[in-house]
Amino acid sequence: MAAKRSSVTRKQLEALLAEALVPVEPSGRFVRRLRARLVRYEGSRASTLWAIVAGLAIALIVIIAGFSVALRLSLGLLSVLGLLDRRPSSPEGQQAAA
């Protein structure tokens, strides 16, 4: 081949290049791990978004529940105060009311 090179033709040179520049295979482990990394990277962005949405939803539920409890306590307190207010303070008062 070396002797031929001094008068190497275009076709011969192309044949040599086709022989030298052959495709190589990346390791299967590398290909799989990189795919997993890319998907996890993208997936982690999606899960972050979902975590924010879930956090906001939970906070909203807690606030509404808090208001609900406060409202119930207020109503209960007002009911007790109302009952206490309607109760006669002395027997004379009770007779007058009758």
Partner: protein, 198 residues
């Protein structure tokens, strides 16, 4: 929906919202991009590192991809080209292709001595290829390793098909001159390194 049925453009457009769309795109192109980088850097470690960076960058910028008639593969090659250029600029090191890592299809079943001579000759040829300017190396890799047509090579390299044909012709002539010059130097008993012919 099966991702395999979608073309590259549909996959890249869905990538920002659908993880698996990018996964499918990755599977289609990872070997080609790896090969391109391997022959531009000369070793598997750097090829793996840069291939990972190409796809990470592509994923980050997938939402900004605009359909201008250029294939997605050309876009990926452009990213790879830029990263390899940065790699060589930053490290300023000469790429080396370790032959022991390469599997030459033509060697299978060959005589060990003949295959050793063939390895040596191929190494010399690869040294000559690596001594060529960057754009010529890129052209040879895309043409011989990736087996792409001139039109697609033109899209990747940002040139017309005619310009690619012309560059290919000049590249072969330069390579032939290099080989002849090396051969002449050998016959005179003087070692000639790649790049002396120009």
């Amino acid at each position: 929906m099966s991702w395999t049925q979608l073309d590259d453009l549909a996959l890249i457009q869905r990538s920002p919202d659908e993880v698996e769309a990018f996964g499918q795109l990755y599977e289609r192109h990872v070997k080609r991009i790896y090969n391109y980088i391997y022959y531009r850097t000369g070793n598997h470690q750097d090829a793996e590192d840069l291939t990972a960076r190409v796809f990470q960058r592509a994923l980050r910028h997938a939402g900004r991809f605009e359909d201008k008639g250029v294939p997605v593969s050309a876009w990926l090659y452009r990213i790879a080209h830029n990263l390899v250029a940065n790699f060589h600029r930053d490290r300023s090191r000469k790429p080396i292709v370790p032959l022991e890592d390469r599997v030459l299809l033509s060697e299978l079943g060959a005589h060990p001595e003949a295959s050793a001579i063939q390895r040596e000759e191929i190494q010399i040829l690869l040294d000559h290829v690596r001594s060529l300017p960057e754009d010529r190396q890129e052209l040879l890799i895309l043409k011989f390793v990736e087996r792409l047509p001139n039109a697609e090579i033109g899209q990747i390299m940002g040139r017309t098909e005619g310009a690619i044909k012309s560059l290919y012709h000049r590249t072969l002539n330069a390579l032939r001159d290099e080989i002849v010059s090396t051969q002449a130097a050998r016959e005179l008993g003087r070692p000639a390194g790649p790049g002396e012919a120009e």
